[in-house]
Each structure stands twice: as structure tokens, then as C-alpha cells.
Amino acid sequence: MLLEVEDLHVEFRTRDGVARVLNGVSYHVSAGETLAVLGESGSGKSVTAQAVMGILDTPPAHVTRGSVRFHGEELLSASPERRRAVRAEGVAMIFQDALSALNPVFTVGFQIEEQLRLRRGMSRAQARARAIELLDLVRIPAARQRVREYPHQFSGGMRQRAMIAMALALDPEVLIADEPTTALDVTVQAQIMDLLAEIQRERRMGLVLITHDLGVVAEVADRIVVMYAGRIVEQADAVSLFRSPGHPYTAALMRSLPRLDSKGAALETIRGLPPSLLRVPPGCPFHPRCPRAEDVCASRVPPDVPLGAGRTSACHFAEEVVGG
């Protein structure tokens, strides 16, 4: 297994109390696989990625339990040097907002070359040549000139490409993409998703795609984990999940989506709001909003119920839900 997250617990210690942001998150991704992490704001999908990368702000964030392993090696207890090495060459990450992820006072070329010179011991000229190759790879036109430009001279889509080039510079085995196309227009989003899929296929990279967009998930994911209030409520392969969701939250999310192929009647909604992480409800965190909640849901945390073919759903009534 390339990357494994197991029973990860993270809490934010704030002035208002302890927010339990992750409450036992486990997932894994292997070479050549695309794992989509689907969730709404506050579900913990980005925090999980930050914990994997070791870039959580501590304080207020504290990992209180769990394990993150890369090729079986525990990262949470690794030395800062070792983590840096893994961050550079093992697991790379790209972000939603490329403008704030890139340093505005250095050229795009410099930011790619820096890691090549530091980690690969390349000369200036070698690093420059490689940076141009990488910009070419992510289809930035006129890479030879663009390499000398600053991030503000790039359009939104070009910046996202530059950030991908930077993440790929040291040939990582896993790429974590946190909402990589959310800030982009739909025609540019399609270009970037095609590019990511192609690069991943060629390099047999593991791709962890964090998103709230069910459409994007349906187009690229092999497997999907659905997060809610710091927990994974369902995991399944893409086709099964969309054909027969196994958790009431996933099912409700799908029914609340307006469709492109028909005007449709009133949308089904999920009543209420996601819980405050300062006061996650006891039992199943979704029970106050769940259409089929019963007494047991408020008292007992549902186990991960296996649904066959590697699927699980954290619902007391998972078998009935998946059966329709």
C-alpha cells in the first residue's frame, strides 16, 4: 500500500473549547489509483490531507491518535527531516488557490528550480532546462518565456498548471489535490482534470482528489470516501456509489443536486445544518438531519458495516439503505 491513513483523530483546541475535527478517519490509496475524498465544508477532508502532509498548524491543531504510513513507514512519529524528504519526493500536494500557494516575489521558474537544485543537486542551467520541460508537460504555451514570469502574470488556469508542474518536479508517488479546480471556470476545469488524469496514468501515481463536486468525482474517481463531521460515513467504488449509495447522507446529497439533463421539480433537501464540531452529536453525527433516524442512531455510533466488494457504510441501517 502506497499511502495509508488509519484511525486519525485531530482536534483543534480553541478558546471556545475543543473542536473534534477528525474522529477516526481511515483511507488508503495505491499506485495508479484515484481516491476521491468527498465532503462539504467542515467535513474534515482538507484537515486529513494536511495531517498527512504534516502541515497542520499546531496549535491549535493536535493529532491525538492514529497513524499515517507511506510505504508502511510511520510518518506521524518521523523526524522533521524525514517528513520534509517525504513531502518533497513521496507525497506532493496542490491547492485550490494557486495565487496564494505560489510565492509572488519569485518567478515561477525559480520556484520549480529551487527544489531541483536543493534535492537533486542540479546546476542552475540543468534546473532551468528541467523547469521548462515541466511547464511543457503541463501544457503551458511558450514555456521558455513563461518560466521567467511571476505568478501574477499567469491566468488562473495557467497558475494551476504551474502549481501542478511544481508538485511534479521531484516525481512524487502520491499527489494530493485539494479542490484543484474549484476556483476555475468550467471550460478550464475540464482542461485541468484531463491533464491530472493523463499525468496520473502515465506515472502510475496515486491521486487523492479532495472535492465537494459530485460531478468531478463521478468523472475521475476509482474509489470514493464520503466524509461528514470528521468521519468517513461511506466508502465504495465510483460506479456502485452512484448506482446505490449506502449511506443516507450520500443518498440525500445526490438527490439535492440540480441536474444538467432535465429541469426537474423541486429539489430534495437535507434539513438543518452540519453540526458544530465543538458539539458533535452523540451516536451517528448525521442523525439529527437523517430522514430515517431511529432511537439507536442518537445513542450508538454506527460501525462500518461491510456491504461487499470493499464497500462500507457507517449506518445502522446500511443494508436497507443500499438496497433502496
Binding site: 475540464a190 444538467l260 439533463d261 432535465s262 426537474g264 433537501t269 445544518l273
Partner: protein, 331 residues
Amino acid sequence: MGELLEVRELVKHFPVTRGVVFRRTVGRVRAVDGVSFSLRAGETLGVVGESGCGKSTLAQVLMRLEAPTSGTVLFEGSPVFGLRGAALRRWRRDMQIVLQDPYTSLNPRMTVGDIVGEPFEIHPEVAPRGSRAGRVRELLDVVGLNPEHLNRYPHQFSGGQRQRIGIARALALRPKLIVCDEPVSALDVSIQAQVMNLLGELQDEFGLAYIFIAHDLSVVRHLSDRVAVMYLGKIVEIGTEEEIYEHPTHPYTQALLSAVPVADPTLRGRRDVIRLTGDVPSPVNPPTGCRFRTRCWKAQDVCATEEPALAIRVGNHPSACHFAEERHVIP
């Protein structure tokens, strides 16, 4: 029935200036460049397009928050840009706006009651002083908020609830038309559906017309009777929801629809995929002729020299392409 709103050849250019002391105009951003459409009472017109296409500027000009460079807008037959004094105030009651960002469009130092009741300060004839608190409660109730919360501040509400506050404020003066500028794009999926349903219910209840501006094509289809597609300051295609989504004839509309990811993994690799290259050109210096030609796979010489008019060439709805033809792109 007559048209509620009629927009004719609306243009809004912003000057691009250089220098501080000796400021001079070096160019113009052609944000809206000759837009015409009309809207009937109780109807919803969706406006879609990518960033920089001018859809938000259009909203600002229609609301008279920005002065137009040229063009006319008729509201119930009278020209909006000529209104002054009492007539202007009267018109402002009829047309209201809901903005995208529920965090910055509400004053954090005002209570919800004051925010929703503020329109009555400016238009006291709508609700006499004594009846205002009751009116505000009613409005909060109509948009699905607890009327007892009128003394709370915006930060005590979630994003979806704040958008409801913005809608209640827009409803206060019983408008005939509400311009909604990306009203659900900052919201999570489960909350977005609630707000979309609310907008639909309010339309049925009060006979509202909407101009619904958004970049999400599924959201626009769900709420709109007719749809206008904008590209670089111009409408490139306009028609009924059915015509635009099922029978698009402009290459840009087709590319836009084809690029929307569809939530069905079994359709992977089986869709009609149109991938545009490059980004939208700068509105300061738009391409000659057809503005879409630099990204269009059908472009010929004529597209660079002759601007295609928005006219019916095939089917029943207008499209601004010399080579308009129908192509079904949604699976």
C-alpha cells in the same frame, strides 16, 4: 401581457487609466458590449457565462449601481436611466438584488431586524412605522428563518441562513423583479438546494420575475424559463431552457455544456467531449469579428472580419454564430 423589462443595446465600458497625476485613459474594458433581451412578469431569465463575461456588470447596470455607457432599459415601458426623484424611488421598490457573498453583503453591526427593515426607512410608505416590526417578522418567516431571531447579528447565522436574510431584505418592498447575482455559489450542496427551492416558492407565491446570474449550468437550468449565454460582454445565444440545453447551436454553448462534469460514472468516455484550448481573451482587447473565434474549432476567415449578429439561423432561437448548427451534447 407586456414586457416587464426590456434591455436594448446596453453597453458598459470601464476606462483603463495609467499615471497618477497625469491620468490618461489608455484603453477600455468592454465589460458589457451591446446586450439586448426582454423579460415578462413572473418569468426567470438565467444568465450564464464564465468569469469576465460581463454578467455581474450587467446586474450592476440594470440596478443602476453603475451608469451605462449607452443603451436603454425600459421597466414597464418607462426608461429606467431617465428616472429622477420620486419616480426613481418608486422604481427602486420594484427592482431589488440578492448578492453572492452572504458574508460581505450584510452589515455586521446591524441586527437582522434592522437589515431586513432598513428598506422601510427609505420607503416609509410601504410599511407605516408601527407595523414594521411585524412586517420584518413576517419576512423572516417567509424565508424560513425563526422570526424570534430578529435581534441577532449576521455572524450568528450560517452561510445559507445569511443568504435567506439577504432574500428577505430584497423582498421587503414587494418588488416585481429580483436580480440574483450568483446567490447559491458560495453555499454547500445540501444548503444550495434549500435556497434554490426557497427562490422557486417565493416566485410562485409573489409572482416575482428573476434575472438569475450564475456560472453553474445545472443550477441555472433548474430555475430558469429562458437562458442567455454570455461571452466577453455579449449574448452569444438566447432561448428557452429546453432550446439552450437540448438544442444548443452556438459552439461556445456546446463547449460549456460539454465541459460540465456529470454525476454518473457509467457515462465516462461515452460523452460528446468538446475541449476548448486556452483562456478567455482580455475584454480590453477582444478579438475582431466573432469574439469566440480564437477558441473556436469552426472558425473561418469570415469570423475574423464579420461580427455574427444574434439572429435565428437554425431552429427557433437566436445564436451569434456564422455557422450555427445544432449539436446535442448532454448525455
